[in-house]
């Protein structure tokens, strides 16, 4: 059988096949990269952003609007979490970090070691929203009750084990991972010490949607995340009012802006590096961000800055001139 095939084998020239593969790949790539014509403002450059998954959606929306006017500025937005973002920021790998808390002393040291100077600019407010299943009869919790659910010790297994609550269902906790600024902020505000929390919870990492589905599917479920995630899912979840010592307050735009939703309201920040602020495109982007975040954010459930806060942010940015 084997002697008959010698002549016909020439068809498969391996070099030709390899060359064909390479050409094909190149052609695909070339065909794909058309249409990057210039236009607009004349600003160009690259802005790489990473960080909080709470701030991420706002940054994406702002970046999109900014790009509509400045198509030649290449913007990337990742969501590694506030902590994960700071790690990359202080290694000089990104220009801006989205943060849902202020920078930590260790992170500041790391930035210093790498000679990365930065500035904190607040771009939005947030109500850290505690959500439960709609079938849960609880409407309002105190910080102490939250600590009984989320605290590192003496953790309640059932809702009725929490002092003062009479709903009965096993507690199922859904929380962000340790790279998350939301985790840091919540543990500091509720458990009194940052990063300390019960180990008995479903770690959803940076995927807050898992909290939505988890709490939606479990009568005794409880979770927490930025206000915008609640806004987008308010039909499936119930937000608990929080009693920080002055009565029950529901998370809302008003209660955050007037400062009554305590202690779970917080600022959302951008951390641009000073070097990036010297770049025309980045500077223009942050300026655009501060001026437009309220309007853009309102459409996707973010709580805007007060006029006073906008003025402060603009002043902080201008101080770099």
């Amino acid at each position: 059988m084997s002697e008959t095939t010698t002549t016909s084998r020439r068809r498969f020239n391996p070099i030709a096949v390899i060359a064909l593969c390479a050409v094909l790949a190149a052609a695909l790539s070339l065909a794909a990269c058309g249409g990057s014509g210039s236009g607009g403002s004349g600003l160009s450059g690259a802005i790489n952003i990473d960080g909080s998954s709470t701030v991420g959606p706002l940054t994406k929306a702002v970046a999109e609007q900014f790009n509509a006017e400045n198509p030649d500025v290449q913007i990337t937005v990742g969501e590694a979490g506030t902590g994960g973002g700071f790690e990359r920021f202080c290694a000089g790998e990104i220009e801006i970090n989205d943060a849902s808390r202020s920078i930590e002393p260790e992170e500041a040291t790391s930035c210093e070691d790498n000679k990365i100077a930065y500035q904190e600019i607040q771009v939005a407010n947030d109500a850290l929203t505690v959500v439960v299943n709609p079938d849960n009869s609880t409407d309002c919790v105190t910080i102490d009750q939250l600590a009984q659910i989320w605290g590192p010790d003496g953790t309640a297994a059932d809702w009725n084990e929490v002092d003062g609550l009479d709903f009965s269902a096993p507690i199922e906790r859904y929380g962000p991972g340790t790279d998350s600024g939301t985790f840091d902020y919540f543990t500091a505000a509720v458990n009194g010490e940052e990063g300390v929390q019960t180990k008995d919870f479903n770690d959803v990492g940076e995927n807050d949607n898992q909290t939505v589905t988890g709490v939606e599917g479990s009568v005794g479920g409880i979770g927490y995340f930025g206000y915008s995630y609640f806004e987008a899912n308010s039909g499936e979840l119930k937000a608990l009012q929080v009693d920080g010592g002055n009565g029950c307050v529901a998370p809302s735009v008003a209660s955050v802006q007037d400062g009554t939703y305590t202690p779970l309201s917080r600022g959302l920040f951008l951390y641009p590096s000073k070097q990036a602020l010297g770049d025309e495109a980045t500077r223009a982007f942050i300026d655009f961000y501060i001026q437009n975040a309220n309007e853009i954010g309102a459409q996707i459930g973010f709580i805007g800055l007060t006029d006073e806060q906008v003025a402060t942010a603009s002043k902080q940015l201008a101080a770099n001139d």
Partner: protein, 311 residues
């Protein structure tokens, strides 16, 4: 072939008719064996059905959910935070760039390594056996490990390429290279020794023999392996996460040193979004990706069937 295997039964029947003894052996086969054979084939079909059913459910589920967004705009629109405007363009182009460079890297390296191991290194060579062992082990390393390797050595120092298309291509190429080498070796080994000996006997040098006889004969097998490897590279998400593939890019990746996102990451990002419309979009994107993978695998199967020869 064990008793109970339907092939055994068939072989026995064949044997029986060949001997001309007719139905005597067939009818004298123990009843228990027949039942066992039937049960076994039912079990085999059940296993097959389960696997196909899994795929079918996945495809159907996503098809139903993603149907409203399965339109050309899905492919031509760029990333957007408004689900109505969002599309796959940047991710698709990012994936094409990455895969393009993966092909350029793995074909010469993979085939070269296989030719060396199969044709040049003797099977007794210690070095060759060490390499072989390592290649086989590497094929079993979880993909996230390659991602971390890429982060530590390619994205950061010593290569220090940064978080660009080429970093992803190099990492994914490392990830699928063992598969290509293993498959290419298999294809080379399937070329009978008589072909090599015949060529050498006619005065061809070793390189001429490999270049004109062995490699062409092995191309179908190698091509199949390469396509399957590429399919795997397209679907990999885990190694790209530490490599800083941003999930949201407002531009089209335009070269090896461009920042990028890729199809599986885009899907991952959409699934994470709070709005339900993004879940629909993710389902539609899953269909696009599954379609792409199935198409590539079909090409691999077609290639194998079309050019495969028995010696």
């Amino acid at each position: 072939m064990r008793p109970g295997d339907p092939r055994t039964a068939r072989a026995e029947v064949a044997l029986a008719s060949a001997r001309g003894v007719g139905t005597e052996i067939f009818s004298s086969q123990p009843r228990a064996d027949v039942i066992r054979a039937a049960a076994f084939s039912v079990a085999l079909y059940a296993a097959l059905a389960l696997a196909v059913l899994g795929l079918a459910v996945l495809v159907l589920d996503n098809l139903i959910e993603g149907a409203p967004r399965l339109n050309p705009a899905l492919l031509t629109n760029g990333t957007s935070s408004l689900p109505a405007n969002a599309g796959l363009r940047s991710a698709l182009i990012g994936t094409l760039w990455i895969i393009g460079f993966v092909i350029v890297l793995i074909v010469p390296l993979g085939v070269g390594a296989a030719v060396f191991l199969e044709e040049y290194a003797g099977s007794r060579s210690r070095v060759a056996r060490l390499i072989e062992l390592n290649v086989q082990n590497l094929a079993a390393v979880p993909s996230i490990i390659y991602g971390l390797l890429g982060l530590a050595f390619i994205a950061r120092a010593p290569l220090n390429l940064g978080f660009v298309v080429l970093t992803a291509s190099l990492t994914l190429a490392l990830l699928v290279l063992p598969v290509v080498i293993l498959v290419a070796r298999e294809a080379l080994r399937a070329v009978p020794g008589s072909v090599r000996e015949g060529s050498l006997a006619l005065g061809a040098t070793k390189w001429q023999t490999i270049r004109h006889q062995v490699l062409p004969a092995a191309v179908p097998g190698i091509a199949t392996g390469v396509i399957l490897a590429i399919s795997r590279a397209i679907g990999e998400t885990a190694p790209l996460v530490p490599l800083g593939a941003a999930t949201f890019v407002t531009f089209d990746p335009n070269g090896p040193f461009s920042r990028y996102t890729a199809l599986p990451l885009q899907i991952f990002d959409w699934v994470k979004q709070p709005q339900a419309e993004f879940q629909t979009l993710a389902a539609a994107a899953i269909i696009v990706m599954l379609g792409l993978l199935l198409a590539m695998n079909s090409v691999a199967i077609w290639l194998r069937n079309r050019y495969e020869r028995s010696w």
